[in-house]
């Protein structure tokens, strides 16, 4: 049953890749502005859970509701539109477009939504400032460090002011110092914009930035708050 007031909720999710079962009855819910860490060992199914919640992957069965709308009832174009306008993403390796400058990378989601280039780049620049990497605006991803690139990726994820930010091991490729700074900036910015954050990680110190933790193991999820 959907917890009252939840923004995004999944129930009894099943997903298999061939013979490998990635999700086996997992559930999840998040409230607006909440930061939830999804934890678990490698191969436990946490990234698949994130992909299902974000509408990137369709589960084999189960329901996902976002803001009262059933995700599995939407077609690919509707889910893409949802991701463009309501969701933001940060991946482990940033996945910045190497040929675009940092400011163009950050402006990209806005441009995909139809915002004129100059306006989009102005907004992008202000986000780069917030994440303390505005001096990199004209540089390409190949010219910046991993930590800097990840901050640019966070700026890109937040530039559309998403209601949900999905972060898949956002500090996985960074040293602890850089990782912590990225998490500070990410959570600060998310709270400032009231974005809910689904934070997939296997590191306890990263999960410490969250309000609540969910552990995924063998495709099943367990809410640690309710477990206590």
């Amino acid at each position: 049953m959907t917890p009252p007031g939840s923004l995004l909720c999944a129930e009894r999710l099943h997903k298999a890749y061939g013979p490998t079962v990635a999700l086996d009855g997992a559930g999840f819910s998040i409230h607006p502005g909440e930061i939830v860490a999804v934890m678990g060992p490698s191969g436990s199914g946490k990234s698949t859970l994130l992909h299902c919640l974000a509408g990137i992957v369709t589960p084999d069965s189960g329901t996902i509701t976002y803001d009262g709308r059933e995700l599995s009832a939407m077609n690919d174009a509707q889910r893409s539109a949802l991701r463009r306008s309501e969701f933001g993403f940060v991946f482990q390796f940033g996945q910045l477009v190497p040929e675009l400058t940092c400011v163009e990378n950050v402006a990209l989601p806005l441009r995909l939504n139809g915002t004129p280039r100059k306006e989009a780049e102005r907004a992008a620049l202000s986000w780069l400032e917030r994440l303390e990497v505005d001096d990199l605006a004209k540089k390409r991803p190949g010219e910046v460090s991993g930590g800097q690139g990840q901050r640019v990726a966070v700026a890109r994820a937040l530039v559309t002011r998403p209601r949900v930010l999905f972060a898949d091991e956002p500090t996985g490729a960074l040293d602890s110092l850089n990782g912590e700074r990225v998490m500070e900036l990410l959570t600060e910015a998310a709270r400032a914009t009231s974005a809910a954050v689904v934070l997939v990680t296997h590191e306890a110190r990263v999960a410490a930035y969250s309000d609540r933790e969910i552990v995924v193991r063998d495709g099943r999820s367990r809410d640690m708050e309710h477990a206590i």
Binding site: S47, S80, R83, V97, L108, R156, A157
Partner: protein, 777 residues
């Protein structure tokens, strides 16, 4: 650093090429397939001169010329050969009737015994046609029993239609130049006449134009999988390999692909050779055994391809710094310099310059200068294109997201894009130049037949033994025939031998004669003089009533003629010439049948001109069959508006066939390269889709990414092609005229190749955009 170290590193690279698991194998095989296709095409192209030479030799070996310098008497070792060629559709069927005159009569090549009367031996291709449903009409014309097939040594191509049939009483036709008496087949006189210098120029340029893109393609093929390889090399740096070692190891990997490519190429070549044996392009076919590349050229290919692979890899790695922790490409590579790139085409022009204005009269073009000049000009395209692409894309602004993604990608690495289109640009530049040259000299090699195709479309040459009236009547009643005009034609001279003055005599009924001249009135028994035709000064001299003229007079050195005396009648009328069916005006005497001496039939030859019903299907075949039924030695000619030199046509045909192969090959390489790039970007594409990028946006970005360099490449190719075309025309002293149709069609074909490649790469692109790309476990 010594040779041993080089060899060790190269060997290490070769090992890496095959020990990288499935991915390593796939990459090595991909490279080998690319190189193999190029090698096969190189071998096939280098085998073409040999194939043409063998065709020529076979043609010479079976030669049986009708016009011989000396006549030989019938003997135990002679055979009379009559030419009984025919046509089926647009294809010529080579036909000979053989009548051995003694036990030692020579057999033509490929035939092991003389067919008896009513029998024939045929080429395998003709046998197939005759046995097929579509060959029913031809079978009617060639009803003889098939008693064997002509061997390969008697044919000039696998698809050649040819037959030898048994003949009798052929000797009387020797005088008519319909038959010949020989004691051996083959032409052992002078060697093949040298190729006209302009045609030689064409052949040289065609070869360069076809081979250059193949070389460019091979250079691109050895770089397949480059990015992934660079990452692997970084791992080697981590365990202690220095920069130079990694480059040599990379070269070793390319060498492995190239050597495997040579093996693939040899296999593809052998397959291609067999396939070529079953293919006929524009009426030219060859036997697989004809396609043997010269050993020297094959050796050159075997050495040059691996060497080029090593060289290209070392050059390509110049701009890449492989560090232990990854590959570093300076985000903004050093700006390309223009000066040395301009030197190449300029040097090419300088090499061609001394030959400008030489024309055909001056004979020889220096082959080395021509090849060198054209190669440098075309290599200039490959050198200039990266600079042009870089210079132009640097100035392109950001537009829509798809455009921005494409332009930024090009700005970051324009070299890859330029390399992708280099082959097409070279092929198009060369083809434009050649098309210009072809169009320029076309008139020299095309003869306007001037036949009036609105009035008659076929000509039937009826032998003297068949009465003209009955031949005309049979042809008139043939299916698909609208009208026939029958004439007896010949010459009339003032003396029976060695006449000083002579003119044309044309005999026919009034309706037929009205096609030759405007007659005041006409009835059987009338004779008309037609003076006033250009170059005919003799008719007024001979058109004197009462004067005796001699039909079919004899000339010294020629055969003895059955000359017939004819007196110009007193009632001679005057007529005014009009353009005849043959497109020319005909002067001389026009004679109605009633005024022709009875024995004139021996002195005149007989022609029936046939007008066909354009809506009748197979009308030409019916006429050919009716003509063959009149007499087996009846010649039938289908008229065309123009006639082209056979050699000119075959060179032009060769260019088209070669260009199609080259463009298909380059298209395949473009596709492989495109897929390779997409695979490299799989994760990025998936993440772009994850945050909502429309698939259309990404597809359009791929299209722009190919279309921009292609547009620039075609523009540059057009400029270089037009320059080269102008130079070639000036070399042959031909007025320079740009054949815009060919420029547009060649650039259009180039653009179409890109479009097809982009369309073919869309399904994999859509697959790669699936979220699976985000999975890391």
């Amino acid at each position: 650093m010594n040779a041993r170290q080089w060899a060790r590193d190269l060997a290490q690279g070769v090992r890496f090429a095959f020990t990288g698991g499935r991915e390593g194998w796939v990459r090595a095989v991909l490279t080998a397939v690319g190189v193999g296709l190029g090698v096969a095409l190189l071998l096939l192209t280098t085998a073409i001169p040999n194939a043409l030479a063998v065709r020529h030799d076979r043609e010479m070996a079976r030669s049986d010329d009708l016009v011989l310098d000396t006549r030989i008497p019938a003997a135990a070792d002679t055979v009379v050969v009559a030419h009984v060629d025919t046509e089926f559709g647009d294809t010529t069927v080579r036909g000979r009737a053989l009548e051995p005159e003694g036990p030692r009569a020579p057999l033509p090549p490929g035939v092991d015994r003389f067919p008896a009367v009513g029998e024939m031996v045929v080429s395998p291709a003709l046998k197939e046609v005759l046995e097929s449903d579509s060959g029913k009409l031809l079978r009617e014309r060639l009803p003889d029993r098939i008693v064997g097939t002509i061997g390969e040594s008697g044919l000039i191509g696998s698809a050649e239609l040819a037959f030898y049939r048994g003949g009798e009483d052929l000797a009387p036709y020797i005088d008519d130049a319909r038959a010949t008496r020989i004691d051996e087949f083959g032409f052992s006189g002078s060697p093949a006449e040298p190729l006209d210098p302009v045609l030689l120029l064409l052949v040289l340029v065609v070869f360069v134009v076809l081979l250059m893109p193949v070389a460019v393609f091979i250079a691109a093929a050895v770089r397949f999988g480059g990015e992934r390889r660079d990452r692997r090399l970084a791992a080697l740096r981590l365990v202690g390999a220095d920069g130079r070692m990694t480059r040599r190891i990379a070269a070793g990997e390319a060498l492995a692909g190239a050597v495997l490519g040579l093996v693939f190429g040899a296999v593809f070549f052998l397959i291609g050779r067999e396939v070529a044996g079953g293919v006929e392009v524009f009426h030219v076919s060859v036997f697989p055994s004809y396609l043997n590349p010269s050993p020297l050229l094959a050796l050159l290919v075997a050495v040059a391809v691996p060497a080029a692979a090593v060289l290209v890899t070392l050059l390509a790695l110049r701009g890449v710094v492989i560090e232990p922790l990854g590959v570093v490409r300076t985000a903004r590579p050093a700006r390309r310099r223009l000066w040395w790139r301009l030197l190449l085409p300029l040097a090419g022009l300088l090499m061609l310059y001394p030959m400008i204005g030489k024309g055909r009269g001056n004979g020889d073009f220096n082959q080395y200068l021509v090849v060198g000049g054209v190669v440098l000009l075309l290599v200039g395209v490959t050198a200039l294109l990266p600079w042009v692409v870089e210079a132009v894309v640097a100035r392109l602004g950001a537009g829509a997201v798809s455009w921005q993604l494409a332009v930024r990608r090009l700005q970051l690495s324009s070299g890859t894009a330029a390399r992708m289109v280099n082959g097409i640009a070279v092929a198009v530049a060369g083809a434009i130049a050649l098309q210009m040259l072809f169009a320029g000299v076309d008139d020299d090699y095309t003869r306007n037949t001037e036949h009036d195709l609105t009035r008659a479309q076929m000509q039937v040459d009826v032998v003297r033994t068949v009465p003209l009236e009955s031949a005309a009547e049979k042809l008139r009643r043939t299916e698909g025939v609208r009208a026939v005009y029958a004439y007896s034609e010949g010459m009339a001279g003032d003396r029976p031998k060695e006449p000083e003055s002579s003119t044309w005599v044309t005999a026919g009924d009034c309706a037929a004669l009205r096609e030759v001249a405007t007659l005041p009135s006409c009835r059987d028994g009338d004779v008309f003089a037609v003076p006033g035709v250009e170059y005919d000064t003799e008719t007024p001299k001979l058109a004197v009533p009462g004067r005796t003229l001699y039909l079919d007079p004899s000339y010294e050195g020629g055969p003895e003629r059955a000359t017939v005396a004819w007196r110009v009648p007193h009632g001679l009328k005057q007529a005014r010439a009009r353009t005849w069916l043959t497109g020319a005006e005909r002067g001389g005497f026009l004679i109605t049948p009633g005024a022709l001496p009875a024995e004139a039939g021996q002195a005149l030859f007989q022609e029936v001109y046939v007008a066909l019903d354009p809506s009748a299907r197979d009308a030409r075949e019916h006429v050919r069959n009716a003509a063959a039924a009149l007499h087996p030695m009846t010649n039938t000619t289908t008229w065309a508006a123009t006639e082209k030199s056979g050699r000119f046509t075959s060179i032009r045909t060769g260019l088209f066939a070669g260009a199609v192969c080259v463009l298909a090959l380059i298209g395949a390489s473009l596709l492989v390269s495109q897929l390779e790039q997409l695979r490299e970007r799989r994760k990025l594409l998936s993440s772009l889709v994850a945050f909502g990028t429309r698939r259309r946006t990404l597809s359009l970005s791929v299209l722009w990414q190919t279309a921009v360099p292609i547009a620039l490449g075609l523009l540059l190719a057009s400029a270089v092609g037009l320059t080269l075309g102008t130079v070639l025309l000036k070399m042959t002293d031909t007025p320079v005229r740009v054949d815009w149709t060919s420029v547009l069609s060649m650039t259009g074909i180039g653009a179409a190749v890109v479009l097809v490649v982009t369309l073919l790469s869309l399904p994999p692109l859509l697959r790669l955009m699936r979220p699976d790309g985000l999975r890391t476990e």
